[in-house]
């Protein structure tokens, strides 16, 4: 299930406590098969996710980062994911400019009852990261003297 010849990549998922974390739990309870590359970090709300958390995850060795929250209009705090949506969209368009391939960072909405959707999201996202392979870190590219 997970990627190439059993080699795992590091995928970090920031999941909102109220929906996506529950959705991932539902998927687990329902025994849906999922890739195991994703490490879940539970956050109170997708609005809690500072874009820098995502950048820091990449800098610290993540090959892909997923942020998942409640669907718009369903936020436990009424408006957290509205702010998150704007912020994360700017980040998503900005990261490729700095040399992180498009597709390494995604954000999405999964509600607590959507175990099957969670399975689809995590499977597709993991596959997407495996297609991209390990992240080329700063200091490993052509423009550096190997100084990390």
């Amino acid at each position: 299930m997970s990627g190439v010849e059993g080699k795992e990549l590091r995928v970090v998922g920031f999941l909102c406590n109220w929906c996506s974390y529950g959705g991932a739990d539902t998927a687990g309870v329902s025994r849906f098969k999922q890739p195991t590359d994703l490490r879940i970090i539970r956050v109170p709300c997708s609005g809690r996710v500072d874009p820098l958390l995502v950048v820091k995850a990449f800098m610290s060795g993540a090959d892909g980062v997923l942020v998942s929250g409640c669907h718009p209009r369903d936020c436990h705090y009424a408006e957290g994911n509205f702010y998150a949506r704007r912020r994360l969209e700017v980040l998503k368009r900005f990261l490729p400019f700095m040399g992180v391939e498009p597709g390494r960072f995604e954000y999405t909405w999964v509600s607590a009852s959507e175990g099957a959707r969670w399975q689809k999201v995590v499977t597709n996202f993991t596959e997407q990261i495996h297609n991209l392979g390990p992240l080329h870190h700063f200091g490993e590219g052509d423009g550096s003297g190997g100084d990390r």
Partner: protein, 318 residues
């Protein structure tokens, strides 16, 4: 320069009512201007206004909140003030603004690249040319060749907010399509080349935070996330990862607020083209929310607000 005469008159009128007025004076040599704090009649005579007055004096204002001061602003600097007003970081009634129509300011690093500037005796500007006299002789070249990059695509030569205006109100002279030229150059590269580009450029960074300290919108310098130990966003390592992290941090903290005044790049002692990073975010903000920072005091920065239905955001379909 009739603008300077008008400036001096206006400053004279206002001097009584304010604590001081921030302008520019001659710096340590003929090629450098430096900020001047005008408190008395004698100080007014030291005031200068020419294309060497590069500093965005709006950077001083947030820390002077609560005191009544005057400030000289070029068109681009006035946008910083508007942005600060929008966010309630300064109060309009506490500042007296002397606007100046500005044909453009020089980029000293472009002059340094052309000639040895260690012993400049005189600098003069006439008819679109700049003449620099050194012990080795005279150098004359068109001003346009050494203008700051931001001036080559300037859309706001006249301040958008002022109490007194010196000089003729100018309409934009420069082509707007140059605004994102540098960003588009990088966008043409593939991702691998972009990574290499930033590695080459940002590896020079010494993390002196001059870009932060010069930025008019970096207002939480005493509590900067870059200096924080908890959470420890940046470690003391000198590797490129930390450098990149810092520049992304600064760019994201001014996302939707940056008025593209170019102070970060001007202040950089290593001449790293960091304005491009901020510019890229500006470009995306413009595309997503049709918003330009520092144009209207009544606006709300796009990341401080939201719409229930975002017409421009197309979410990923799993």
């Amino acid at each position: 320069m009739e603008a300077i005469g008008k400036l001096r008159e206006d400053i004279q009128k206002e001097l009584e009512d304010v604590e001081f007025i921030i302008g520019w004076e001659q710096g340590f040599d003929a090629l450098h201007a430096t900020p001047l704090f005008i408190r008395s009649q004698e100080d007014i005579d030291r005031l200068i206004w020419n294309p060497l007055c590069v500093h965005n004096l709006a950077s001083y204002l947030p820390q002077l909140k609560g005191r009544k001061v005057g400030v000289l602003l070029k068109g681009c600097d006035s946008r910083s003030v508007i942005q600060l007003l929008q966010e309630g970081l300064i109060q309009r009634e506490e500042i007296v603004i002397f606007g100046i129509s500005c044909p453009g300011v020089v980029d000293l690093s472009k002059i340094r690249a052309r000639m040895n500037v260690s012993q400049v005796k005189r600098v003069s500007f006439a008819e679109g040319n700049v003449t620099i006299e050194t012990p080795q002789g005279r150098e004359e070249f068109p001003l346009d060749e050494v203008l700051a990059t931001k001036c080559l695509s300037c859309q706001y030569p006249t301040p958008l907010i002022y109490d007194h205006l010196a000089g003729e109100a100018l309409s934009p002279q420069r082509p707007a399509d140059l605004l994102y030229k540098e960003v588009e150059e990088i966008e043409k590269l593939d991702v691998k080349e972009r990574l290499a580009h930033w590695e080459r450029e940002l590896n020079r960074c010494i993390r002196c935070y001059a870009c932060r300290n010069a930025c008019p919108l970096c207002v939480c310098q005493d509590y900067c996330a870059a200096d924080s130990r908890n959470p420890h966003w940046l470690s003391q390592r000198a590797g490129i990862g930390e450098k990149v992290m810092w520049h992304i941090m600064h760019a994201l903290h001014v996302a939707g607020r940056c008025t593209d005044c170019g102070e970060c790049e001007r202040a950089c002692p290593m001449d790293i083209p960091i304005q491009r990073i901020r510019k890229k975010i500006n470009k995306e903000i413009k595309a997503l929310f049709d918003y330009e920072a520092g144009v209207n005091t009544e606006d709300t920065p796009p990341l401080y607000t939201f719409q229930m239905e975002e017409s421009t955001i197309r979410e990923k379909d799993w």
